[in-house]
């Protein structure tokens, strides 16, 4: 199959590339954009480590082809913190609550939780667990992650978020 020209806005920056149709979005991000924060844990859509936001929606980077993102806007874990490096409320909460150990699954959790709390700023504990059920972690036993998401939800729903620190939300709104 012939290669395809695509244009994808990644973390606010327009990227043009010629890709094989079979190139996954995750491999495009990792290999063509050098954004290696998106990790591959299973390559069959279960573990969630490769989760990125495509036009604001959390998707599995291993189950989307790069050509499907043509014309779209992608936010990866590298685009979640503020440009000055200030961690987002979600990232901050993971740090405060020991929500990561080896850090391999972490980018997928950060992106998934960012989208989840944007859509549901005041979730119940059951909703938090359900929202996290598509991301696997083998280190933490989910204890610190559950605490972190609770804290991030309480922080954001209390209206204490500095809007300027949430690069992802800004990008996604523009993309819609």
């Amino acid at each position: 199959m012939a290669d395809v020209s695509i244009e994808v806005t990644v973390n606010g920056q327009l990227r043009r590339a010629v890709v094989e149709p079979r190139l996954t979005l995750a491999d495009f991000l990792r290999e063509r954009c050098q954004l290696t924060g998106t990790h591959l844990g299973c390559e069959h859509g279960v573990c969630g480590a490769c989760t990125v936001l495509l036009d604001g929606q959390a998707v599995r980077g291993c189950l989307v082809f790069a050509v499907q993102a043509d014309g779209g806007s992608v936010t990866t874990v590298e685009g979640i913190a503020a440009p000055d490096g200030t961690l987002s409320p979600v990232q901050q909460a993971f740090r405060e609550h020991h929500g990561l150990q080896c850090g391999f699954c972490t980018p997928g959790f950060v992106t998934s939780v960012t989208a989840f709390l944007r859509d549901n700023p005041s979730p119940t504990d059951e909703e938090v667990r359900a929202a996290l059920s598509g991301n696997l972690c083998r280190c933490t036993g989910y204890q610190g992650i559950l605490a972190a998401v609770r804290a991030a939800a309480d922080t954001t729903s209390a209206g204490t978020v500095n809007a300027g620190t949430n690069n992802a939300a800004t990008t996604n709104q523009e993309a819609r």
Binding site: G41, E43, G85, E96, V110, C137, G141, G144
Partner: protein, 782 residues
Amino acid sequence: MSAAPLPDTAAARYAGSRVRRVEDARLLTGAGTFVDDVTRPGMLHASFVRSPHPRARIARVDTAAALALPGVHAVFTADDLNGDVVEAWYTGTGSMVPDTPRPPLAAGEARFAGDIVALVVAGSRYLAEDAAELVDVGYEPLPAVADYAAARTAEALVHEGYAANLAGELAGAPAETIADAYTSAAHVVSETIWEQAQGAVPLETRGLVAEWSRGSRELTVWAGTQAPHEVRMFAARLLGIPEHSVRVITRDVGGGFGQKVVPMREDICVLLAARKLPAAVKWIEDRRENLMAAGTARHEHGTARLAFGADGTLRAASLDHVQDVGAYPTPWPVGTGAATPMIFPGPYRVSAGTFTHASVFSNTPGRVAYRGPWAFETLAREVTLDIAARRMGIDPAELRRRNLLRRDEMPYSSPTGMPYDHMDPLETLEQALAVLDYDAFRAEQAAARSRGRYLGVGISCYAEPTTPAFGVYATEGATIRIEPSGKVNVYVAGGSTGNSLETTAVQLAADALGADIADVHTIQGDTAVTPFGAGTGGSRSGSMIAGAVGVTAAELRDKLTKLAAHKLEASEADIELARSRAAVKGDPEAGVSFAELADIAYFQPYALPPGMSPGLEASARYAATGMGLWACATHVCTCEVDSMTGKVTLLRYVVGEDCGHMINPAVVEGQIAGGVVQGIGGALLEELAYDADGNPVATTFMDYLLPTATEVPLIEYAHVETAPGPEPGGYKGVGEGGAIGAPPAVVNAVADALAPFGVTITRLPLSPAVVAGLIDEAGGSQ
């Protein structure tokens, strides 16, 4: 080296507190460097051709079509690589044991479904996988030894030369020597407990990048490993080159849990191939490969025989143990396998006991270490104890209370010769039961049963050997440099796979030197700049790094103190080190910063005290005084079982763990929780299943079920610090215990819930179908 106590650090502020991790900033922003994030100029990519048959003769390997594909650089077969092996033994095992076969590529015969037959190297991973499909292998299928339990009488042999498929056997005293303890007992309870095959399943699969420099004849390896220095030593022996010609670099590793302790066959192939390639070569395992070929663990069974006096006093504890070692166990499995029944008597007061052990081959991948590799002993003992408690009509908590060792009985030698010391098993039980409020739960359980709901509580106790301090693990080194700026760099071997070893080293060094933690940095995982260390394994890193940092920092502390006393014209005894300053006691204004002291040490040698060497750098090694450190714990779990569907819902989970003093409670709790949830997975969900012919049927995360956030209970901790370890700081290991204690706690909780049905549980995992089946078999009603 002595085991002198850590210096009296009046300014100790970091050890014992929940210091924020220094690893997190990079990992939360996608800026970590895992092995698949490494790229090298012109880098090539590897993919393996794997046998689809559990056992087959390899009649031919035709690589022509694969080599003809544009972008393919090489296809290696056993003929190309296997002859290059100079030596292939692991340092922890040594070269003298009768190690089991471990050819790089399968030669002549494929011995499990997934066995590696050829290695394809191409310009991209996509191309390498395309080419792997073009390698034409002529297989002649052979009957496989699919079931290890029947392997000793099977006609087929996994390896020629190993009669009855026996990799090795070990045994304790003959059973007749303790026969009296059984014949005189009021109760003897014997059960055979079966544990299913499981995988370590780190979220990051295995992988490495190997680059051979032809000019300098040096090998550089970027490895996802728990032990960078072991990779270096192994690679040097493998290729027959000096150790200093190999550099191993490890930054972030996405979990290991034992799977990344030593190089395995795929790693060996890539290391051998690198020398034949013009550029670096990367191999990153995919998940299917990880589940079908990265090794199995826990697949074993054992017959436990417990003897009791009329009052429930434990009189004897013996285990006859058989473990599946697959086709290519890594490393040698017999010695570690025998540890399982040797630890079986556990944290109990019991005078008689013996064991047998058999390691048996099968046509499945091969046994590898997995967090608490001997954990089956706790499963077998604790499940059998609960069965015994029900038969004797004694509450399981009370049965343990009567038999658990107390701190004042230490040291204590188990009947299999385990030298227990510095632990407090009974206290862990009492604390865990108190947190749960055991009596209140029993009342709640009775009330629930009267309403047709089945709640249960399960207890599990264990004694765990941590920080093995012999052979390759005997010592740990550190280098500490206070740089000319006054900032501190701590160099230790590392091998962190989520264990927070960077934070640990920084915390300990800051306290030991009296430095502000913000001034302390650590460098780990690069064999070119770090002292030798055996990496993570055996729950050793916290206590051994504490020792290494302690002895090294003591030298620098002494130098800082002398230098400051000289500069401030004060007595050494009056100098205090804190917040990166040396100050005079009682006169905080009279002080000098580490930066000023470093300036003198590096740039003003004439201002040093007479006889003092310039610079502020020290290297030292720590040797533990004993053979290891005993930790212990009690896990208490409650659950509800749906008697119609068989679904198990965990309600509460309490861990009372005696891991000595804690360097960082958040890290300790994270290690416990992670292990507990792996153990819950093993009890309820996970199974590396094979069909009757030896074909793997759990090769995706749709089939191999890991626990998710929806299944795990909130874990509660009751830390027991009444029996600190004998080494500096009183630390012990805590990395593996969670995974050891959890499976029997869960099994016992389910069995307790189902006690009204008369159900006895002896096999895992307890899937809803299995639990519902047990209820049906028992008649389906009370």
